[in-house]
Point group: C2
Chain length 250, copies 2
DNA sequence: TTTAGAATGTGTCCATTTTACACATTTAGT
DNA sequence: ACTAAATGTGTAAAATGGACACATTCTAAA
């Protein structure tokens, strides 16, 4: 019934049941290469974009891949590794970032077994105008993406679904917008990400009832129509009033 | 701004920009030991339980740890590794299981850097009466757990929170119950996991309106009070009617 | 300067859902 | 036969969600 890993059994025998030399134990473990892949979303021209780079790999020539790197060189936490990649590739270090899932299919990397931990990241494209374009680093419209290198399309899809769900229950969308935004911009964001149309009046009513948007008393400028009011999201108030959501529904 | 990993730079130079020998590339990667840790939940005596084992490690003597193992010996997917562990440790292979998160703090294992992918698993304790108790393998009440080996308490907490949220949006709770269950048992399950009291009438109305419980025409037996009707969950109907949830709320 | 067009901003009505709450029924146990 | 305790159902009020209309403000073109 219960089969104990051989490594542990060996160690147990040496120690009469308890393992003392943990370092030696860990050294005996099999190892795999680990990468972190970042799905970096941005929002521009009313479309959800993702930051991609042309693949380095001959067999994926012409295909795009996520921004990734090894995650263990230094003694860094996984989250730190993801922040490092963001910093290296975009120059930004104040970016929203969250772990989504780890992908480990044996065949996912043509060069051998490589695990990757997928991170989802949201940033405001306006604040980060790309200056470098090595390997065609650039924004791509999410909805029009087809083939990608490795299993990166699968990872992207998983992160997109994660985002669709997450944005409805947590205030992350604001990370994709400028600090000051209009309600129309906010609605465009939600419509683009969720892929649905929403009633303008009900949308505004919804956010009004949450009472988490601060009217900063400014108006839009340089818009080709009547300017709307500008708002900030009240992260402080949100953090204080965060409540445990309870409601069975499936 | 952008700093490329040294490994890749080296390969690029050899290949005039594109990497051909992916195998060689992967072999040059740094590696880490990977484990899978399973948080196996059960429900008994109206309490949420978790399956734990006494730690093998001298420095964690007396502390309990999750059921884990290495995840890369064979060319198995991460999910497969988790299923393998379940099978080895409980003898069951038809158990609900889902990946929750990967933990990678450099200090999380005293023997060196070890990543672990946490899986959450739900099973019906009645169907799996433990016969083996090596290393005190046994069920523990979740709410009364304090110290554990490694960072396993942190992992357990994360999985518990995951479960609390997940059980409200997906029909996983039924995996913790017998095939036939009463509405009272179902409510006890929700109350225990969410840690709240619910109104019996509204709870029943809620599930009645979902129309996913099948009245199998049987009654409870051997209960010290009026027997209630027994139900099955209609997984088939659920799968067919699964809808995309839309509703901003935070 | 006037006017048309388009987007903003607010409010109402109705249907649905959630919540609070009460009473009759059935069974076990004494 | 009677009590205690849990099952099973219903109803009314409150809150929420969705469909919908109209006046206002600004841009841009005539």
């Amino acid at each position: 019934m219960k089969k104990e890993p051989a490594v542990i059994t060996a160690f147990r025998k040496k120690n009469g049941g308890l393992i003392e030399n943990v370092q030696q134990l860990v050294e005996s473990y099999p190892r795999v290469p680990i990468t972190v892949d970042c799905v970096i979303f941005g929002f521009d021209e009313n479309e959800l974009k993702v930051l991609l780079i042309k693949s380095d790999i001959e067999m994926y020539k012409g295909k795009y891949s996520l921004l990734g790197d090894f995650a263990i060189d230094n003694d860094e936490d996984l989250d730190e590794a993801a922040y490092r990649i963001l910093k290296e590739r975009t120059g930004m270090d104040d970016v929203y970032l969250e772990q989504v899932r780890t992908f480990g299919k044996p065949s996912r990397h043509p060069g051998g077994r490589v695990l990757t931990v997928a991170y989802c990241s949201l940033l405001n494209i306006q604040h980060h105008k790309l200056k470098i374009h090595d390997n065609d680093l650039d924004w791509h419209t999410v909805s029009s993406l087809k083939e990608m290198a490795f299993d990166h399309k699968e990872i992207l899809d998983a992160c997109y679904q994660w985002l669709q769900k997450r944005i409805q229950e947590h205030p992350l969308g604001f990370n994709l917008l400028p600090d000051k935004f209009s309600l129309r911009e906010l609605q465009n964001l939600y419509e683009a990400i969720l892929g649905i149309d929403m009633d303008r009046r009900n949308f505004r009513k919804k956010f009004a009832s949450m009472d988490l948007l601060i009217d900063i008393g400014e108006m839009e400028e340089d818009v080709p129509h009547r300017p709307g009011k500008l708002y900030k999201f009240d992260f402080e108030k949100y953090e204080k009033s965060k409540r445990k959501w309870v409601g069975i529904d499936f």
